[in-house]
């Protein structure tokens, strides 16, 4: 009997193959941040010297947490809420908290996918013109007050030119999720991941063969070893691996719960973790090569054209670079925004899956109604980001959900599992029973000491920054409602879901 057939008989979804799981997990980890965040984190934190804390962070935080989430999902064969409930009866809320943070992140993540689709179209004929910043903030998003923070509460109407591509993106995400784990998520990953690598390689090859590419690579890789004495650089390294690897989202718990019993968990984590890191390293080479080209073409310093990364890099700096290229400009635009879209779509699907798994387990739903509810609710919320004030709300929600939702969820998970439940030995035995690489002191001590210390430091550091300096000069009322309010909402929602219908719960795999 095939894995899919077995899954059908037990009622629980299962991956069709282990390769399919690996590609889906890679697709989840490799997202927009690998392309537009990582290169700037390297550049701003000691250049080539940053690789040292980055590798240490991979070894002592990213891989240990990834393995722990695989072991949790695989051992309890359920989504995060049920897995934590199985571990300790009163901890279901922690799983729901992760699920709700992921759900709210998905509401704006798919909006950005819509932007990528729109920019694929705008690439034909370079429709953004010469003023790429003015086009993005004004003509495309129609942001209130021209993007000035004073327009924060000016919600305005829906932007139809944004809504159409966002709806297309939602339809694609919905269609993938509705087809299920093996026929939807896995098949998509098997097609899109190789295509994404080909597109990225095309971008990198084009980038490094442009005049000025070496200028950008020098800025990116020339090491400043003095930066290693700065605690902020180490926090940045741990923050990067934490946000980049899809950990604390409850994604990997859900994905691992769909694995067959006999699966090498530890080696899978190594392959997924190193694939993600290798991808972003390659993306950084491509991004800074073309920034070097732009600097030489405009007779500026690379540091002047580099900007700050993120949305600005993709939708303002890159269109400017594409305008300046000596040839095949439109094709380069389609390849770049297409790569962003592909990287994002597999991640978006994975961010929604934990919610679907959790709702199915809690409310005994079949897959289709669960997908309808989750996607429908997320799509409705995402309309807020399609308004004229949408950019403000997206930026604020992203900042707070990442810095306080994800980091705090991760901290709570590691502390509860390692220190309160003292489950690390049990999870070690579980992972070692099915894996060829045997976990030992490295894994245990990383999770017991290094990860809580770093995540705790990040939480305090983020709190201090947020309290002393209003983010992006947004009004306090906006930060309280859209930032802190959203984080509080996830926690309250988690506690509420923990309380409801306890007596009717069941596990779909019986």
């Amino acid at each position: 009997m095939s894995d899919v057939e077995k899954a059908t008989t037990t009622g629980r979804d299962q991956w069709g193959s282990k390769l399919g799981f690996l590609l889906a997990a890679m697709g989840s980890a490799i997202g927009l941040g690998n392309i537009w965040r990582y290169p700037y984190v390297v550049y701003e934190n000691g250049g080539g010297a940053f690789l040292i804390p980055y590798f240490v962070a991979i070894a002592t935080a990213a891989l240990p947490i990834l393995i722990m989430e695989y072991a949790l999902g695989h051992r309890f064969r359920s989504g995060a809420p049920h897995a934590f409930r199985e571990m300790r009866r009163g901890w279901e809320w922690l799983g729901w908290w992760q699920v709700l943070v992921a759900f709210l992140i998905s509401t704006y993540y798919v909006v950005i996918l819509g932007w990528c689709l729109a920019y694929c179209v705008y690439s034909f004929g370079l429709q953004w013109g010469d003023d790429t910043a003015g086009f993005f903030v004004g003509d495309f998003l129609g942001t209130s007050a021209g993007g000035d923070p004073s327009g924060f509460w000016d919600v305005g109407g829906l932007r139809w030119n944004v809504l159409v591509p966002v709806v297309i993106a939602w339809v694609m995400v919905y269609a993938i999720l509705r087809r299920g784990v093996a026929r939807g998520i896995e098949v998509t990953a098997k097609v899109l991941m190789p295509l994404l690598v080909v597109l990225l390689l095309a971008l990198v090859v084009r980038g490094v063969t442009l005049d000025g590419a070496t200028e950008g690579l020098n800025v990116l890789f020339t090491p400043d070893f003095g930066a290693l004495g700065d605690a902020g650089v180490w926090i940045a390294a741990y923050g990067q691996v934490f946000f980049s690897m899809s950990i604390a989202f409850s994604i990997m718990i859900a994905y691992a719960s769909y694995l067959p019993r006999r699966t090498d968990l530890t080696n899978s984590a190594f392959v997924v973790g190193l694939s993600n890191a290798s991808f972003e390293f390659l993306a950084a080479i491509g991004v800074f090569a073309v920034l070097g080209f732009l600097a030489v073409a405009t007779q500026s310093a690379v540091t002047e054209v580099a900007g700050t990364g993120g949305v600005g890099l993709a939708f303002i700096a890159f269109p400017q670079i594409i305008n300046t290229l000596p040839g095949l400009n439109s094709l380069f635009g389609v390849v770049f925004f297409g790569a962003l879209f592909l990287a994002g779509v597999t991640s978006a699907v994975s961010i929604m899956e934990p919610g679907i798994a959790a709702v199915r387990e809690k409310f005994h739903l079949r897959r289709t109604p669960a997908v309808n509810w989750i996607c429908g609710a997320a799509a409705l919320v995402s309309l807020l980001y399609v308004t004229q004030g949408g950019l403000f709300y997206l930026d604020t929600a992203d900042r707070f959900l990442n810095n306080f939702g994800l980091v705090t969820c991760g901290l709570a998970m590691v502390v509860l599992v390692a220190w309160v439940a003292k489950e690390l030995d049990t999870l070690t035995d579980h992972a070692n029973a099915v894996s060829y690489i045997q976990l030992g002191a490295w894994w245990k001590y990383s999770l017991m000491y290094v990860t809580p210390l770093l995540l705790g430091t990040m939480t305090v550091y983020n709190l201090w920054t947020e309290v002393t300096t209003p983010y992006s000069d947004y009004p306090w009322s906006g930060l309280v409602v859209v930032g802190w309010g959203v984080v509080a909402l996830t926690l309250m929602g988690a506690i509420t879901l923990h309380q409801v219908r306890k007596s009717h719960e069941m596990r779909l795999d019986g």
Binding site: D211, E215, L217, F221, P223, D264, N267, V271
Partner: protein, 39 residues
């Protein structure tokens, strides 16, 4: 336009060897272990 600095090349190679080399080793190990498991 100048060539890449030696220090930048060293760090580029360091990163590439660690990441891509590490990935290659992990992938080969995974495949070998999977075959041994089947056998």
């Amino acid at each position: 336009m100048r060539d890449m600095d030696t220090a930048a090349i060293v760090m580029l190679v360091f990163g590439a060897v660690f990441l891509w080399g590490g990935l290659a080793v992990a992938a080969v190990h995974y495949v070998v272990a999977a075959r041994r498991d089947k056998g």
